[in-house]
């Protein structure tokens, strides 16, 4: 093939040479399919899911979708492990697909985390034993028919016919594929495209709750509008950064920042203009901070978390945070390390405000899902303290924290799906009173999750918190650690409050019942407990893993 290329080439050698200076030839894309295989597998599974949705009979869809999702995600994870075993996580780190996607330690680690989260989330998505049987059909947490008007005739028909929205599985897979590229994106356009790829399915998923559909749709619209807004800001920032560096590749921008790049003459007027860099960088970072739900870009979080179907909330809370923190880390550590004296003070401020506001506002919450939403905001603040460290231990601590946080979160939201009354999930905290007496096991499990969120020793949350605070302290951010510790204390108050409610208050006469889950949700919860205890008592293996994965490729 190269012989033909050379032969063709030789026909117009002179002209081409003359042209090369002015307009460089567009090279044939060289795609390393093997290195991208995890993402491709997930995309393939998603497409297969769409085909099932189009061609399989309605009755067969649920089983088919579940099988495709689980197999696809498991295969993707296997591919990730194979890549890591091949040394791509360390020595052979590589930027694949023409400089668009990095294959390195952090990317593989985060992708593995996201795939596992998605696998667990698939289980919670597929749970069909919680809602009472409707017209002889087992139903899940999703609307019978997304397009039907809430409360309308069509909806009633759909419910009676036993429809379920099995589209959620391919939607989940598309989102996962986007999330896998997001932290691995090595140029700004890939970053933007992957952001949209994972955001759009999420907007849809948020709108699909079976109960309280109006609230769910409102959440979706809110999420969509604010998300679109933040995407626009991100895109604007990308444009400005392109104006600054003349390239969208991370390495290229970093070279311009460092002053080692050869400048393109055509862009000489704007290249290296610090105003473009600062404003553009700030806008891109803002776009990412929106996704991690850092204050002051957190407004959407409580409403969306509350309105979305709880399995989706759990998935979103865990996976989006992982993906977005991965992207943020890569952006700050690969593109802007030379600017750290500019962005660090700002991020200090954001981290402090995020920790304090998240913790304080959570104190006043009366709804479990909103409470967990504010708790996730506070956790974003703790994670930011690790990001600010700008050191390999900062990266590894954030990676570790993300694992610890995400599985506990998934488990926590899975518990929320079990506590139900006539109106669906009983998310108001007052209804949780006396749960410890009604079903001690469930309450104890939720208490374990809450203690982990609060960072009590011997839980995963403590190990994670210690890791990020340690990294921050070693990076000289001792005041940040002190603020972190104080907000942990505030946060502890509201976690404890829930435990008080569950164990020390008398059960209400018309209290909620606890649904007996199928093995699907039980697995999600058990995994959450296992991760909490293992990472709390013997975190060494995972810390090592995160430590080995701590270097970005440029």
């Amino acid at each position: 093939m190269s012989a033909t290329a050379a032969a063709v080439h030789s026909l117009w050698t002179t002209r081409a040479l003359a042209d090369t200076a002015a307009t460089p030839a567009i090279p044939t894309p060289h795609i390393e399919y093997a290195q991208l295989s995890p993402v491709l597998i997930v995309f393939g599974a998603a497409v297969l899911g769409v085909l099932i949705e189009a061609f399989a009979p309605r009755a067969a869809r649920y089983a088919g979708q579940l099988a495709v999702s689980v197999v696809g995600l498991a295969a993707a994870f296997a591919a990730l492990v194979a890549l890591a075993a091949d040394g791509y996580a360390q020595g052979r780190s590589h930027v694949a697909a023409m400089g668009a996607v990095a294959v390195d330690g952090p990317a593989l680690f985060l992708q593995g985390t996201i795939v596992l989260i998605a696998l667990v989330a698939t289980f919670t998505f597929a749970e069909r034993r919680l809602d009472p049987v409707a017209h002889g059909n087992r139903v899940d947490s999703f609307a019978a028919q997304g397009s039907a008007v809430p409360g309308g005739e069509q909806e009633q028909k759909a419910v009676r016919a036993g429809f379920t929205t099995t589209e959620v599985f391919p939607l989940l897979l598309f989102a996962v594929a986007g999330m896998m590229i997001f932290p691995a994106a090595d140029d700004l356009l890939t970053l933007f495209v992957s952001l949209e790829v994972f955001s759009l399915p999420l907007y849809l998923l948020c709108a699909l709750a079976r109960r309280r559909r109006l609230m769910s749709q409102e959440a979706s619209v809110k999420y969509f509008l604010l998300g679109a807004f933040s995407s626009a800001i991100l895109l604007f920032g990308i444009a400005l950064l392109y104006g600054y560096a003349g390239t969208v590749s991370y390495g290229g921008i970093a070279d311009v920042v460092d002053g080692t790049a050869k400048l393109t003459p055509a862009l000489a007027n704007t290249t290296g203009n610090d105003a473009l860099l600062l404003i553009g960088g700030a806008m891109v970072v803002m776009g990412l901070l929106f996704k991690v739900a850092a204050v002051p870009f957190h407004m959407w979080t409580p409403d969306v978390y509350q309105g979305a179907p709880t399995p989706v909330t759990g998935f979103m809370a865990a996976a989006v945070k992982v993906a977005a923190f991965g992207a943020l880390l890569r952006l700050l550590y690969v593109v802007l390390p030379g600017m750290r004296w500019d962005w660090r003070p700002v991020m200090w401020g954001v981290a402090i405000v995020t920790m304090v506001v998240g913790a304080i506002i959570a104190v006043t919450q009366t709804d479990v899902k909103r409470l967990l939403a504010y708790s996730s905001i506070a956790h974003a603040g703790f994670l930011l303290t690790g990001v600010i460290a700008v050191s390999p231990s900062g990266v590894s601590s954030v990676l570790f924290y993300l694992v610890a946080y995400s599985f506990v979160t998934l488990g926590g939201f899975a518990v929320v799906t079990l506590v139900r009354d006539a109106g669906g999930e009983a998310t108001h905290l007052s209804k949780w009173a006396g749960l410890g007496r009604r079903s001690p096991l469930l309450a104890a499990v939720f208490a374990v999750f809450l203690l982990s969120f609060a960072g009590i020793p011997l839980t995963a949350g403590f190990s994670g918190k210690f890791a990020v605070f340690k990294a921050a302290a070693q990076g000289g951010a001792v005041p940040l650690v002190v603020v972190g510790v104080i907000s942990s204390a505030i946060a502890a108050f509201f976690y404890i409050r829930v435990i008080v409610m569950m164990f020390f208050q008398e059960p209400q006469p018309q209290g909620p019942t606890v649904a007996i889950p199928s093995p699907l949700t039980s697995t999600a919860i058990a995994l959450g407990v296992a991760v909490t205890l293992v990472l709390g008592v013997a975190p060494q293996y995972f810390l090592d893993l995160a430590g080995k994965a701590g270097v970005f490729v440029r």
Binding site: F466, V478, F493, Q505, A538
Partner: protein, 538 residues
């Protein structure tokens, strides 16, 4: 590899907690006996630890050391010095009595709900607290200590909030509200203290990582590196980290003005749980001051000494004064404890050998005497269904044994010569007086006040005409006597012959003092006659 005796001492109660919790709901009595068996096994192990410990030997004995979380420089390091040995033994001795005294405290009122298993939970939690306290005493790694120092709050919190005293002055709902308030207050105070300490722990790591290349939490290694100059803390860093540590321990101990959680927690919890709080868990605070504050941060300890001593003396007087004014038996004992913790902290920070030996001995004596007094008070309260002093009177006429044991416990609390606490209080005061005469004198007032609150309490509840509701009061049962008699015997023994304990403590205290570079001040007063006699003898 030698037998991991210290690990086993902590693992046995932990395993006991698991086994007890797993006993089926209906087999309540089996659960109790299981728990007691594990507690007794722990006591045997603690006795073996004590027997294997040789007072003149190495500083930390029976050591174990394994890598745990290498990424944080954390090792699983255990080792006991004389102070730790004594406190491990104290814990192991007290827990079986706590269980026996609380034998019926967690029997469910209604047995309809088969999933609700308070009895199993109660005894499992007690064993869990014991395991965590033991490992906190045994660890020589700061991180390991911190983990259990914090983690023990959770089972303790459930013990306070879940198993309250049925004998409050208010209705059932108000009672539950008060109890949950007390539990939350306990947890938040201690959690905040612990989190402040966490910042200091991270600071310590950052300093050691910066100077030694790899961060470490190992107490022996840090002491070693500080002694040979590899590791030097700047004055500012040492003071901040010291304050972080001390704050947590002062909340736990508790030191005035961080004490306010204690009366709530002790008042609302059952008497055995109150014993667990004040006689076992709180000792970790004072123990940690000796082990971590003084040894890791000698200069900062000296710098902070004046303030701490003043706070301790305020605590002594304040606790005693408030005890005098209490109308609630358990809250009275709680304030008395605050006063006594003042003595312990005074002894620790006077930095004399008598003071610190006395303080350590006081931890033991206070544990035993408070346990005796509180448990008897608990028996009294459960009989009357009230903890208000005004509801009692003339008990000694109907229940002489109960009144008698209560009196002995009370006399121990007021440090009557011949009973354990006297020796320790005397040592603390002597130790303080040699360096800080004024503080010693003020602290002595605490003893006078102690006599007042104990004797007034006895007079109001036990003497005088028999009040309504007291007439039919039954005297101590066999189970209760089994609890009280050994404790009183122990008080007598410690009062008459404390040497076995002080022999174990003293070398450790000497080591600690040499870490702080302090020696006892020379006697200022020379008695002419004695000096002359010495001259003649030569």
């Amino acid at each position: 590899m030698s037998f991991p005796l210290l690990t086993v001492t902590a693992v046995v109660p932990a395993a006991g907690a698991v086994v007890t919790a797993a006993v089926p709901a209906a087999r309540r009595t089996a659960a109790k006996w299981t728990a007691l068996a594990f507690a007794l096994a722990t006591l045997v192990l603690a006795a073996v630890v004590t027997a294997r410990f040789s007072p003149g030997g190495a500083r930390y004995q029976l050591t174990e050391s394994h890598a745990w979380i290498t990424a944080f420089g954390v090792r699983y390091e255990l080792g006991v010095d004389g102070i730790a040995v004594v406190l491990v033994l104290l814990t192991a001795v007290l827990v079986p009595f706590v269980m026996l005294a609380g034998w019926h405290d967690a029997d469910p009122l209604e047995t309809s709900d088969r999933r609700w298993r308070p009895t199993q939970g109660f005894f499992a939690l007690i064993l869990l607290v014991e395991a965590m306290v033991v490992i906190a005493f045994e660890s020589t790694d700061v991180f390991l200590f911190y983990v259990f120092f914090e983690a023990m709050l959770i089972p303790m919190y459930f013990l306070i909030g879940g198993f309250g005293d049925q004998a409050g002055a208010h209705g059932e709902d108000e009672q539950a509200r008060q109890r949950s308030y007390a539990a939350v207050k306990f947890l938040l105070y201690n959690l905040v203290g612990g989190l402040v300490m966490l910042a200091a722990v991270i600071g310590l790591y950052a300093v050691t990582a910066h100077q030694l290349g790899a961060g470490t939490f190992s107490l022996p290694q840090i002491l070693h590196d500080r002694a040979n100059g590899t590791l030097t803390l700047s004055t500012t860093a040492e003071r901040w980290i010291f304050l972080g540590f001390f704050f947590a321990f002062a909340v736990k101990a508790p030191l005035w003005p961080l004490h306010t959680w204690l009366p709530n927690a002790m008042g609302e919890s059952t008497a055995p749980v109150a014993v667990l709080i004040t006689a076992v868990v709180d000792k970790v605070g004072t123990f940690a001051m000796l082990r971590y504050c003084l040894q890791l941060f000698p200069a900062a300890s000296k710098w902070a000494t004046p303030v701490i001593l003043v706070l301790a003396v305020i605590g002594i007087i304040y606790g005693a004064l408030l005890a005098v004014g209490q109308r609630d038996i358990k809250r009275l004992i709680a304030y008395a404890s605050i006063s006594h913790f003042g003595f312990i902290i005074l002894g620790i920070f006077a930095m004399t050998s008598q003071g610190q030996s006395g303080a350590t001995l006081y931890m033991v004596n206070h544990g035993v005497s408070t346990a005796a007094l509180l448990l008897v008070a608990g028996f009294l309260i459960s009989r009357r269904g009230s903890r208000r002093i005004a509801d009692f009177g003339g008990v000694q006429k109907v229940a002489p044994l109960l009144a008698g044991t209560f009196l002995v416990g009370g006399l121990a609390t007021l440090s009557l010569p011949g009973l354990g606490p006297f020796v320790s209080e005397f040592l603390v005061l002597v130790g303080t007086f040699t360096r800080y005469p004024a503080l010693g004198v003020i602290a002595t007032l605490g003893i006078v006040l102690a006599a007042l609150y104990v004797l007034v309490l006895y007079q109001r509840t036990m003497t005088g005409p028999v009040k309504a509701g007291i007439e039919g009061m039954k005297d101590l049962k066999v189970r209760e006597l089994v609890v009280v008699a050994p404790l009183i015997a122990l008080l007598l023994f410690l009062g008459v012959y404390p040497k076995p304990v002080t022999d174990v403590i003293n070398p450790a205290v000497k080591d600690t003092l040499s870490d702080v570079h302090r020696t006892d001040p020379p006697p200022k007063v020379t008695v002419p006659a004695v000096a002359a006699a010495k001259e003649n003898a030569k």
